[in-house]
């Protein structure tokens, strides 16, 4: 494996806009937290997102459901190419690939979905599902059989089951098969889109462990997407927090966990059971969890400044003036907040 470039994945200013009839989409999306209406029925699902994932690390992406995480994942993999911005995987800018070359390149990046039930074609046996990618890469039949057996072995599914159909397995088993399928092409980079959220708690741990083992064994790079900050922080090396299509805070896992700065990150962190008690004594934590500063809310479609304004407990009028961009507040620690006074306080408090 050649590692000519330092980072496994580089996302630069990625933006994804959906066009469509706002009549329908609008109705559908108002409940969702992450999309911005830009008029004419267009929605910016992902807004100028940039980050870098180093080789052999796990990058966690956190945000509540509907904030654009999955759209981002699909954009990164060019399943639904971004409207603008760059995705550079191991030095290759996906934008520059031809249709054909993109297809060939795909074996290097794979995705594991949230719902194992819909991730496997019900009409195909396990064997046929696993074969698909291998056939794309023109493996010989003999080789394919051998590889499928090894893959199943690797994820802990009895090889004897390979002629069975998905509906004959449990959710956890299915997810193992999905993992096996993703690994069949020996990718270097995997997007894990809420890989365990649809599974029973007892099985979640098994799958997480399996993923960790596999990472070690094959030196994989993960982009781990979840709404569960706790889980993300436990696994990741670096974490980014997404809110309504934008990254609001990003940094090494320790920095985020120990010193969350953005009010939204704080809120997420405080939502984890047990955390409130831990932090309670240090500051007035509740206001980040529940409170919001008195004042007039702004209609979403006319919101020009900080997208968190309506929920922010430390908002000021100037927050509406312009959208805050990410700025450095520590080593690798970035935050999008215009309230300098508040930030200063936070940083002071910490030291």
């Amino acid at each position: 494996m050649s590692k000519s470039v330092d980072s496994a994945l580089e996302v630069k200013n990625l933006t994804k806009v959906f066009h469509g009839h706002s009549f329908f989409r609008g109705k559908q999306e108002t409940s969702a937290a992450g999309k911005k209406e830009t008029g004419d029925g267009d929605f910016t699902a992902v807004d100028r997102v940039s980050f870098t994932v180093k080789h052999n690390t796990i990058f966690g992406l956190v945000g509540e459901s509907g904030c654009g995480k999955t759209t981002l994942a699909r954009s990164i993999l060019f399943l639904d190419p971004p409207t603008s911005g760059d995705v550079i995987i191991d030095g290759t800018n996906l934008k520059n690939l031809t249709h054909r070359n993109l297809r060939l390149f795909r074996k290097r990046m794979q995705i594991i979905f949230q719902d194992p039930n819909s991730a496997l074609n019900p009409k195909l046996s396990i064997k046929r599902s696993l074969e698909e990618g291998l056939r794309n890469q023109k493996y010989s039949s003999g080789k394919i059989t051998g590889r499928i057996d090894r893959l199943l072995d690797l994820v802990g599914i009895p090889v004897s089951c390979k002629n069975k159909y998905p509906h004959e397995f449990s959710g956890g088993q299915k997810q193992r098969m999905v993992i096996a399928r993703a690994l069949s092409l020996e990718p270097e980079f995997l997007v894990l889109d809420e890989p365990v959220s649809n599974l029973d708690v007892s099985i979640q741990a098994q799958i997480i462990n399996l993923l960790m083992d596999l990472k070690k064994q094959f030196s994989l790079t993960y982009l781990f997407i979840s709404h569960d900050l706790n889980l993300v922080s436990y696994l990741s090396d670096e974490v980014a927090v997404m809110y309504r299509g934008r990254i609001v805070e990003q940094g090494p896992v320790l920095a985020i966990m120990e010193n969350p700065l953005h009010p939204y990150t704080k809120k997420l962190l405080l939502s984890i059971p047990g955390n409130i008690e831990k932090i309670k004594n240090r500051e007035n934590a509740e206001i980040f969890l529940t409170g919001k500063k008195p004042g007039k809310d702004v209609e979403l479609f006319s919101l020009t400044g900080c997208s968190y304004y309506n929920e922010c407990p430390v908002r000021e009028d100037f927050c509406l003036k312009e959208e805050p961009s990410l700025r450095i507040v520590g080593i690798g620690h970035l935050i999008a907040c215009s309230n300098d006074k508040y930030l200063k306080n936070q940083l002071l408090y910490k030291s």
């Binding site: 993999l77 297809r103 795909r106 074996k107 794979q110 949230q114 991730a119 074609n121 698909e132 794309n136």
Partner: protein, 274 residues
């Protein structure tokens, strides 16, 4: 299990009936006691008896022989019409679902145009254009039913397209053609088969309706639809003229429906499981 045994028995019955029907259609010249067009004018309206098993019609033609020959037309109508409809429907539906914007719009506009007109009226217009006859009727029925399949296939394909296994397949670099044949087609065939079974039945019934209007099968070619048309004027006088072809038609429709149902359950393992 009770239901599976009932279901399989029904299926068996349907298959046996259709096999017999198919065999009769093939071996019609051997089985028929008389020529289906021979007019025994001295024996008009003969009731079922030992000379004419199922009686004779208003020209004294043997009902039984005509029914046997009629099975040829019926099966042919079903097979040809459905094949045309399914072929056009799947092709158009999938192309529409996979293409975006203009092509999808044009295709669906075309299909809507066909759908924007009542079946029988359209059939009449198409048949007026092509000329009356069995082949023309089959073509007309096939063309007219294709939008139903196209719409169904498009809707299903659009929904399947968003399934994660399709995404996964794309992520693994499968080309579009492969995705269509490996993932989309097999998963929509269930509904297509159900619709096809309905359509098969419908096309036979529509052929009968067109024959009723005099636009279908040309006399003296025996067809159940045509027999029913002739028979409707003698309902009281010669009920056997309508009962038997009607029964044959109903049984055939029934059989295709049963087979369609059973197949659709087989194809959809999720349903079978529960």
């Amino acid at each position: 299990m009770k239901r599976s045994s009932v279901s399989s028995r029904l299926m068996l019955g349907a298959v046996i009936y259709l096999v017999i029907l198919g065999a009769a259609a093939i071996a019609a010249p051997v089985i028929s006691p008389y020529s289906p067009t021979d007019q025994h004018l001295e024996n008009r309206f003969a009731p079922p008896g030992h000379k004419y098993i199922l009686g004779t019609d208003n020209f004294g033609r043997d009902n039984f022989s005509r029914m046997i020959y009629g099975s040829r037309s019926a099966l042919l109508v079903g097979i040809v019409s459905v094949s045309i409809a399914v072929t056009i429907g799947i092709t158009v539906g999938i192309i529409a679902a996979l293409s975006t914007g203009i092509i999808d719009n044009i295709l669906m506009l075309l299909m809507d145009s066909v759908l924007s007109f009542p079946t029988i009226l359209l059939a009449i217009t198409v048949v007026s254009f092509l000329g009356y006859g069995l082949l023309q009727v089959m073509t007309a029925i096939g063309v007219i039913f294709s939008p139903v399949f196209a719409r169904l296939v498009r809707a299903e394909a659009l929904s399947i397209k968003t399934e994660e296994y399709v995404e996964a397949s794309r992520a693994m670099g499968s080309p579009a053609v492969k995705i269509v044949f490996l993932h989309i087609m097999p998963n929509l065939m269930g509904k297509v088969v159900v619709q096809a079974s309905i359509t098969f039945a419908l096309s036979i019934v529509i052929e009968a309706s067109l024959s009723y209007l005099g636009l279908g099968t040309q006399p003296p070619t025996p067809s159940w639809g045509l027999m029913l048309k002739d028979a409707r004027n003698y309902l009281v006088q010669a009920p056997w003229m309508s009962i038997y072809p009607g029964l044959a038609l109903a049984m055939t429709v029934l059989s295709f429906n049963i087979i369609g149902d059973t197949l659709s359950e087989k194809i959809n393992p999720r349903i079978v499981k529960k």
